[in-house]
């Protein structure tokens, strides 16, 4: 672990390499810590969902109430508002499972012992974003046809000289910026937040244990910062799960809309 590496006299700040933690094997096919955590999250979510929904009652108990409010939040707050009353229902399973998976995996970042946000490895958000990307492209092309889809990218009734410019911009937006930012936003927030926590923890540990009397008093700064940032991370983790699902719903709604 990191703490042993730091035991020297100079302080080694955390870097991206600290997130590479293979448990079994090495290289491209290693079994890494985020993989194990992702499996754990899947098992956890499936078990909780099955147990909590086994005996549904009209007057909900505590467990059912919590699940129902999470479901209601995604259903009414995100899916129905963004996609619209008429055709939001087919996308609810996707949006709700994406929300729960991202939320649980993000929360792993501050749960002691686990303490690793799975989404801080780019592969995981990339897979999620790829799914949303292919889905909204498929929906848009199915609705308007391949030619109609590209034609629909540019709004009608513009002066002709601006159309090619806008077309290029829209192509970049739809085929590059949207999927890349969807994945990078989740990754970047989790990665940056966790590296900040790591920096606070390492700096506090270094100041406290590896420096002499006058300076080790200052370790209180990073250590208090660590606690405050952990609380801040909790907020960010909820917000990022919300934003991912909100944007996914927005892109789906955009593909379903009649006009640009």
């Amino acid at each position: 672990m990191r703490v042993n590496v730091v035991a020297g006299e100079t302080f080694v700040p955390p870097s991206g390499e600290d997130f590479w933690q293979p448990l079994v094997g090495d290289g491209a096919f290693a079994l890494t810590r985020p993989m194990v955590l992702f499996l754990l999250s899947a098992v956890l979510i499936i078990t909780v969902m099955l147990l909590a929904t086994r005996r549904l009652s009209v007057v909900p108990g505590k467990g059912q109430w919590i699940l129902e409010s999470a479901y209601g939040f995604v259903r009414n707050g995100i899916a129905r508002d963004m996609i619209g009353e008429r055709n939001f229902k087919p996308f609810l399973p996707l949006l709700f499972s994406a929300f729960i998976v991202i939320l649980v995996n993000n929360l792993f970042g501050i749960i002691p012992v686990l303490q690793y946000p799975t989404m801080s490895r780019i592969g995981f958000p990339m897979a999620l974003a790829l799914f949303v990307y292919l889905l909204y492209l498929y929906l848009g092309i199915k609705r308007r046809g391949l030619g109609g889809y590209f034609k629909g990218l540019v709004p009608q009734g513009l002066p002709p000289f601006i159309v090619p410019l806008l077309f290029v911009l829209e192509i970049i937006t739809y085929f590059f910026t949207r999927p890349v930012t969807l994945a990078l936003r989740l990754f970047g927030n989790m990665f940056a937040g966790h590296i900040l926590l790591l920096l606070m923890a390492l700096a506090g540990e270094y100041l406290l244990l590896h420096t002499g009397f006058p300076t080790n008093v200052f370790s209180i700064g990073p250590l208090v910062g660590f606690f405050l940032l952990t609380a801040f991370e909790l907020l960010i983790e909820f917000l990022q799960a919300y934003i991912f699902v909100l944007l996914a719903a927005f892109y789906i709604a955009d593909s379903l809309a009649d006009e640009h």
């Binding site: 707050g77 508002d81 930012t181 990078l184 936003r185 990754f187 970047g188 990665f191 934003i243 909100l246």
Partner: protein, 68 residues
Amino acid sequence: MEGNIAILGYGLSAIGPGIGVGLIFAAYISGVARQPEARGILQPLAILGFALTEALAIFGLALAFVFR
């Protein structure tokens, strides 16, 4: 002094989104202050705008770690 110039790029790329996010939430707050019952409609819009604006800063952060 040692370091990586790419992190300065992150600092530069954070200026624009910083201003943009500030403007979005300023508009959101004044909107809610004028019409508190519109909060439910404004909140997803504000968060959506925030997420889209923040993308540039996230690009900068990712590139700061890519070009090291």
